[in-house]
Amino acid sequence: MQVIEAENLTKRFGKFTAVDSISFDVKEGEIFGFLGANGAGKTTAMRMLCGLIKPTSGQGIVAGYDIKKQSENVKANIGYMSQRFSIYEDLKVWENLRLFAGIYGIPNRKINDRIDELLKRLGFESEKDTLVKSLPLGWKQKLAFLVAIVHEPKVVFLDEPTGGVDPASRRQFWELIYEATDRGITVFVTTHYMEEAEYCNRVSIMVDGRIEAMDSPRNLKNKFEAESMDEVFHKLARKSTRTGD
């Protein structure tokens, strides 16, 4: 089953075409890496898929809903985590989870069980009553991810989730992502760490608003005769002619 289907998705701002007719599908339970240089149009594309901005033309179905006409349904069925972790620093761990569970309409009687389950999965039970601001960065990030999937969305969008996090925490974070996909959640992720691209089932690389390549990391490396994804990226991004955002 396809969780994300994009067909000729285009966004223009005035004369500038930020996203130029991109098409791709993401399967259920897949980790899809969305790569590209700064200003290549990643954020705009992601915002369209999340129902935050309307595409100029083209079609998009996310979690079974049309991103143009049913953006509210789209929002209810996706999770989103940005680089600036969208959790409240001055609330406790469980208060954050409770709050977002409430926002996404999880019935009251289920909330406590759900929170306990999530805390357990993270090994966070002892930190339940800790204020978020006193948590180390790596933990905050994991908590932000839990908050993003508290309502068991079909797909979760992660916008550069691992910037600045220490290497060990970053890997633990990816274990969390793997676990989510094991339970059927689809993961759509942008990153500047090229070796994280290797963890994805498939990656797409955007250059100047277009998708220049899309395949599994292994196939991409074969195709571009590269040792690593970093090399693939450099070979592709060199084509960029864009100077501004």
């Binding site: 700064n38 200003g39 290549a40 990391p217 690593s228 994804m229 970093d230």
Partner: protein, 306 residues
């Protein structure tokens, strides 16, 4: 060039820096490598005279960071972590403002920034806020260089920047080094350590190691294997529960494991076969900086708890 001796700094209860000691030689690119919260920015602020350490001595080009802060401010260039230029001024206006701060003019030291600035000069009448990430960075670097500093501080210049722009920036730094400018740069990207002459690995306010990247790798005393199979996420779990494996982390398209006791490739191969893995590949590899960092951070944590 820079001398740091037993610098410590506390914010409330949090020990941001713990007895940091290192030296930076003239004309080298020195990297402070560590994740967010490791104390890089605090250390930068102490060295750039913005903060006063609780204890310890720090000297920049012979000047004490507390007593002689005025002298230091004249000879250093600083590029803070965030994009700290005036977004509502144009490229040229920004450069003019920073030139005037140092009582110099764009023309006077143009040769120094020419390579960098010429790339953004076509956009000199654009507001800085409307520049792309890479161009903002070039402008910030031009502004930090306009007064021909002897020492350049760059706080996480590559955070949130795509790999191509990152590479470009490191190219620029190499050039500046050839012009005789010493550079202290911080980064959370471990793979950039190799681009520095020497690095200090930092974690949670501690300095784990100060050395050349090569030596740090040489000092690594564990056996490191890379393992891959057709099911990588299951492989990770299976490796983690193996009793002879000390640590296991995903690294790109393979997993890196360190061993408690010597087991053979065959033993591990068989173990994984039994668990249903196919296309198993096991290799001995030499570590990268990231492996070293994780190992040192683990040891550091043990030392701290003892």
């Amino acid at each position: 060039m820079v001398k740091v001796e037993n610098i410590s700094k506390k914010y409330g209860k949090v020990q941001a820096l713990n007895n940091i000691t290192f030296n930076v030689d003239k004309g080298e690119i020195f990297g402070l490598i560590g994740p967010d919260g490791s104390g890089k920015t605090t250390l930068f602020r102490i060295l750039t005279t913005l903060l006063i350490a609780d204890s310890g001595i720090a000297k920049v080009d012979g000047y004490d960071v507390v007593k002689d802060y005025r002298e230091i401010r004249k000879i250093i260039g600083y590029m803070p972590g965030r994009f700290s230029l005036y977004q509502d001024l144009t490229v040229k206006e920004n450069l003019e403002v920073f030139a005037s701060i140092f009582n110099t003019s764009i023309e006077e030291n143009y040769y120094l920034i020419k390579d960098i600035y010429s790339q953004i000069e076509p956009y000199k009448n654009r507001y800085a806020g409307a520049l792309s990430g890479g161009m903002k960075q070039k402008l910030a670097l031009s502004c930090a260089l306009i007064h021909k500093p002897v020492l350049l501080f760059l706080d996480e210049p590559t955070t949130g920047v795509d790999p191509v722009s990152r590479k470009e920036l490191w190219g620029m730094l190499k050039k500046l080094k050839e012009d005789g400018i010493s550079i202290i740069v911080s980064t959370a990207y471990m793979d950039e350590a190799g681009l520095c002459d020497r690095v200090a690995l930092m974690s949670k306010g501690y300095c784990l190691s100060v050395d050349t990247p090569k030596n740090i790798i040489q000092k690594y005393d564990k056996i490191l294997w890379s393992v891959s199979s057709n099911n990588m996420s299951k492989l990770l779990k299976d490796l983690k529960i193996h009793s002879e494996i000390e640590s296991c982390f995903a690294f790109g398209d393979t997993h890196h494991i360190t061993l408690k006791n010597r087991i053979t490739f065959n033993e591990l191969h068989n173990y994984l076969m039994k668990l249903g893995h196919n296309e198993i590949e096991i290799k001995t590899i030499s570590p990268g900086i990231e492996d070293c960092f994780m190992d040192l951070a683990l040891k550091g944590a043990d030392d701290a708890s003892n």
